[in-house]
């Protein structure tokens, strides 16, 4: 079966739980090459959304995701707020009025979300940002679907690619965001935004493991 509206809700609830769990971990990563707030920022944003969720949980997927996007924009701040806000807003635009998602819907939505992030932040692959986790994840998902994998299996490929992309940020020298001020000293540290992106996509793969 495809991903239903309630599955999307379950994914976002899992995101909130995972980001709370990883709050200190993300903050620690951000302390090394940023300003020690990424974990708290993401946690604050998703907590704010969880408070609003009951009022939109029975709406269409697009409404739910746009609400998340708006909430993140209005509560997260920093670089993460506009970037993830844009990401989920674009996901919401592409899923407007939908009550379920096919693999094609998801690929289209994810692509729109990532394009939104790139348009807002002007980061390119290799700049040591969340884009380095998101882009390979999208490519892996599309390829798996092309190869005939199930939705759930393709999501797993997506999460694995996100993880690799996240790890690949370690040796990179940052050219965008706060870590870029460090120049060469930013190498050797994993990017916090790439890490939260991985956690968010991994939560989707875990929640929707049986999707077809």
């Amino acid at each position: 079966m495809p991903v239903m509206r309630d599955d999307v809700v379950a994914w976002l609830e899992r995101c909130a739980a995972v980001l709370e769990e990883n709050r200190d971990y993300l903050t620690q990563l951000d302390a090394a090459i940023g300003d020690a707030d990424h974990g708290a920022n993401m946690d604050r944003g998703f907590k704010a959304f969880m408070a609003k969720l009951p009022s939109v949980a029975d709406k269409d997927i697009g409404t739910i995701l746009k609400t998340l996007g708006m909430t993140l924009v209005a509560t997260v701040g920093g670089a993460g707020g506009p970037l993830y806000g844009t990401f989920f807003l674009q996901l919401g635009v592409k899923t407007a009025n939908k009550l379920m998602l096919t693999p094609e819907d998801w690929a289209e939505a994810l692509e729109a979300g990532i394009n939104g992030v790139i348009a807002r932040g002007q980061a390119r692959p290799g700049d040591k940002t969340m884009v380095d986790a998101l882009l390979p994840a999208l490519e892996a998902f599309k390829e798996a679907i092309r190869n005939g994998d199930s939705f759930g299996k393709a999501l797993q490929r997506m999460a694995e690619a996100a993880e690799q992309g996240m790890k690949a940020t370690i040796p990179m020298v940052a050219r965008k965001g706060r870590a870029s001020y460090l120049g060469e000293r930013s190498a050797g540290h994993q990017d916090p935004g790439a890490t939260s992106s991985y956690l968010i996509l991994k939560a989707a793969a875990d929640t929707w493991a049986n999707a077809t």
Partner: protein
Amino acid sequence: MKKLINDPMNVVPEALEGMAKAHPDLIKVHFNPNFVYRADAPRPGKVAVISGGGSGHEPMHVGFVGYGMLDAACPGAVFTSPTPDQMYEAAKMVHGGAGILMIVKNYAGDVMNFDMAADLLRGEGFQVESVLIADDVAVESSLYSQGRRGTGTTVLAEKILGAAAERGYDLQRLAALGRRVAENGRSMGMALTSCTVPHVGKPTFELGEDEMEIGIGIHGEPGRYREPLKKADEIVERLMEPILKDLPFKAGDRVICMVNSMGGTPLSELYIVYRKVAEICEKSGIQIVRNLVGAYITSLEMAGTSITLLRADDEMLELWDHPVKTPALRWGM
């Protein structure tokens, strides 16, 4: 973590409540979204000058709201850029019919959040210009990267642009002046100690008892390099050299100089720093015609200092001397 706070999560709103109680004649505070604005806003016919950024840099920006400086300031969470709704609501509250000038420090988050607010405001027909401050010479400047951080020049820009707006500059002229200020200001800072973000609870980085970090930003970010602690005069040389040769500042230049505490460094040490800055300027034929020595753009309780030089023309100096009346900067009235 030793701080005079109640709940690490309430540091920003409680400090804003305290400010509102302390300065009702100068400012008002709006909560949800949070912003500080002039008690007499809106000022009809005057360009509204607004700024903002993460909290933890006090007095910047909230302490600079008032006559002759900012119309509104939007404080984010500690070290976290504010959200677009803060700037959007603040701008609507203080707009006097002559447009909005945003003074933005060059951080990815600040830039994106201010951009989103500007988009929203323009969508509703407001005229919006923004001035980007990117003055920190500790960061290599490059077309392919984020560019430089915005630090000390922001304080000077807010003073000068606030005065110009008070004198009736229109939005375009103000933005042009702002860009001139941004282009002529350079800063660099250093830390003796780290700082502790309240909700994190432990220092952002660790520095040994004999170490210092040169080229830090204002968020506890690591700096350009770390080295053994030196005498104040040598530290000042390490900060002044890249500042002077970047613009470059030349003999005959007149500058406004700010020697700033990162929060935990006492005034006496700042004057020891100023002494050497003045000596270096004298030797280079650079004339310090105005100065600020104190804590103006801080990183919580971090010990350390930053130096800012702004090459100033007659117009900037006249605007500098214009009266200002804010919680943290006041003269002439």
